[in-house]
């Protein structure tokens, strides 16, 4: 295993055809390493989410390659990409996307169940991850009974339950107040990051910049600057 978690080469993504064609991401190459937290920042519409989607197996680039441990993920068949997402990637969506009809612990167990783990075993493991994010006591509640920050932590528990080596956060603090947001990212840096894991965070929120190892700036679909974090 190399220390490169992500190796993106010459990625291009455009929407529309002919006159209407607009580039969301243009000629982007970058690397992310295990053990680091990489931030992607930039104005709205600069292509951050599009780039994240391409490296996490959600959106196929029009050209270019995404190498994860020397495997070109976009050369995999559809089921292979689904398995790649299931086994290697943990997503924390901006609006969490938790199931309101399932209990908190069942929500966390979802990736394990998708991995065909036995139901009761999955719940047991999920409970351990809820413990990591400090919500073991809330396991049997539906997520709507939890606060925004707690729901975000449930989403994190779900993202790490399948033990992915790449964690993807898109605007994780956007719907949290400043203090809660800071606490979440601080927690992620201290308890979730490890030297076998890479975390990529897209954010506008300058209050959390201090937790970055590197900050990559995007503008108009291109990377304009890479700086080491505060």
């Amino acid at each position: 295993m190399s220390d490169l978690a992500v190796n993106a080469r010459e990625l291009n993504k455009w929407f529309g055809e002919g006159e209407a064609r607009t580039f969301a991401v243009r000629d982007v190459s970058f690397e992310a390493r295990f053990g680091e937290i990489l931030y992607i920042v930039g104005p709205s519409g600069s292509g951050k989410t599009t780039l994240l989607s391409m490296i996490s197996g959600i959106l196929k680039p029009n050209s270019g390659h995404v190498l994860i441990e020397n495997q070109d993920i976009w050369s995999l068949p559809d089921d292979g990409i689904a398995d790649f997402r299931l086994n290697r990637i943990g997503f924390v969506f901006q609006d969490y996307h938790l199931f309101p009809r399932l209990t908190t612990v069942e929500n966390v167990a979802i990736p394990l169940i998708l991995k065909k783990m036995d139901w009761n075993d999955a719940l047991k493991v999920a409970l351990e991850y809820l413990d990591i994010v400090g919500l073991k006591a809330r396991a049997q509640l539906p997520p709507v009974k939890l606060s925004g920050g707690e729901q975000q932590r449930v989403a994190i528990a779900r993202a790490i339950a399948s033990r992915p080596d790449l964690l993807i956060f898109d605007e994780p603090t956007a719907s949290l107040d400043g203090d809660t947001g800071r606490k979440i990212v601080e927690f992620v840096k201290q308890d979730i990051l490890s030297d076998r894991r890479c975390i990529i965070i897209v954010t506008h929120d300058s209050r959390i910049f201090e937790f970055a190892d590197r900050i990559m700036k995007m503008e108009d679909g291109r990377i304009t600057d890479v700086a080491t974090g505060a």
Binding site: F93, I113, W119
Partner: protein, 378 residues
């Protein structure tokens, strides 16, 4: 796979409001479909009661007869002509007609009188009381102990009554397999007594009943009877003819068909609509599942499972409800003509499967086309 189905189950059932709306919609549709078709089956069987109870293999009748109660008498030569057809083992006349009975209380009651061939008593019912030979005694009648029995003030052997100004005496009580549709009690007597006691046209035999020598003789017998200007039908064909009459010539069948289709459409639209809203509300969650790594076919299985589970549960509830209602109604009204047949259950089942199929198709189309990217972008 079972884990993912458990998730599907919880998503469905924990959404109480929608789940019950779905159940109620489909249950009600199944209930209506089963009730309508069962009532219709009941009525059809009742309408052919006489044919079933007499049990002759072949019936000869005027071609214009389309239901067993409105028979058209045939001249006597028909009987003799039929008897001389090759392949006929024996043939007997059957009288069927209506008469007015004056009961001991002084009230009048309309009855159906079946006159059995004096020589053979072909088509005689099973007796629960009395001896069949007593039918030859003076003024003798046998009363059928069916749902209409009470209308004759529950007579016993020896009870006397007036029938068209003649004296009648009950010599036996009979049991038949199928009650009639028309709510009229039935009396059996001999052909000769029936024709003398009951004023009628010059012709007297309503039907000629044939016992063929073998099944191979049927088509020849039929064509010979046709040459006489009459029609010979096997028992099944006659029942079929009566059923068609009620189905197509009375408006009954069309109404039942319409009601069944309406219940189906109501069920389909309620459940289709509700299921669609259910899917729409969960669409983002399905998208998130896809992003996390669920495969397309796993989502399809989830939806199929949800639709099938709901449909089958509702089917059980609907059939149960219909059965309970019919059984209860039978206990209160012995006359209640409704029977649940396998065909009815099968029909409702097919319709429920269609409802489940259409509902899941709508859901699956939606879910298959969600792009995790759109969910991701928020």
């Amino acid at each position: 796979m079972t884990g993912i189905l458990k998730v599907a189950f919880k998503l469905l059932v924990n959404d109480r409001g929608k789940f019950f709306a779905l159940l109620i919609g489909i249950t009600f549709a199944v209930f209506l479909m089963v009730m309508m078709t069962s009532m219709f089956s009941g009525i059809l069987t009742r309408a052919s009661a006489t044919v079933l109870n007499i049990g002759a293999k072949v019936w000869v009748m005027d071609p214009a007869v389309n239901n067993v109660a409105s028979s058209i008498p045939m001249p006597d030569y028909v009987l003799n002509a039929v008897r001389s057809i090759k392949g006929v083992k024996y043939a007997v006349p059957l009288y069927s007609g209506g008469a007015l009975v004056k009961l001991r209380s002084g009230t009048y009651q309309f009855v159906t009188v079946m006159g059995l061939d004096d020589a053979t008593l072909f088509g005689r019912p099973a007796l629960v009381e009395g001896k069949i030979e007593d039918i030859f005694a003076e003024n003798a009648f046998i009363v059928v102990q069916d749902a209409e029995f009470g209308k004759l003030e529950t007579p016993r052997v020896g009870t006397e009554f007036e029938i068209n100004d003649h004296l009648g005496r009950v010599v036996g009580l009979a049991r038949v397999n199928t009650s009639g549709l028309f709510g009229v009690p039935t009396l059996y007597t001999t052909f000769s007594r029936a024709t003398t006691y009951i004023p009628s046209t010059r012709f007297t035999a309503a039907y000629v009943l044939i016992e063929p020598k073998g099944n191979g003789d049927l088509s020849y017998i039929k064509s010979e009877v046709q040459k006489l200007g009459y029609e010979a039908l096997t028992q099944e064909e006659f029942i079929q003819k009566i059923s068609s009459f009620y189905k197509y010539k009375t408006g009954l069948g069309i109404n039942v068909l319409l009601m069944t289709i309406i219940s189906f459409i109501v069920g389909l639209s309620i459940s289709g609509q509700t299921f669609y809203t259910f899917i729409l509300e969960n669409l983002e969650k399905f998208g998130a599942l896809k992003a996390i790594g669920a495969k397309g076919r796993e989502l399809v299985f989830m939806i199929l499972f949800q639709a099938t589970f709901t449909a089958l549960t509702a089917y059980g509830l609907g059939v149960g409800l219909a059965t309970t209602l019919i059984v209860t109604a039978r206990m209160r009204l012995p006359d209640y003509a409704a029977q649940i047949t396998y065909a009815n259950l099968g029909l409702a089942f097919v319709m429920v499967l269609i409802i489940a199929g259409v509902s899941s198709y709508i859901g699956i189309r939606k879910v298959i086309h969600i792009e995790p990217f759109d969910i991701f972008r928020g």
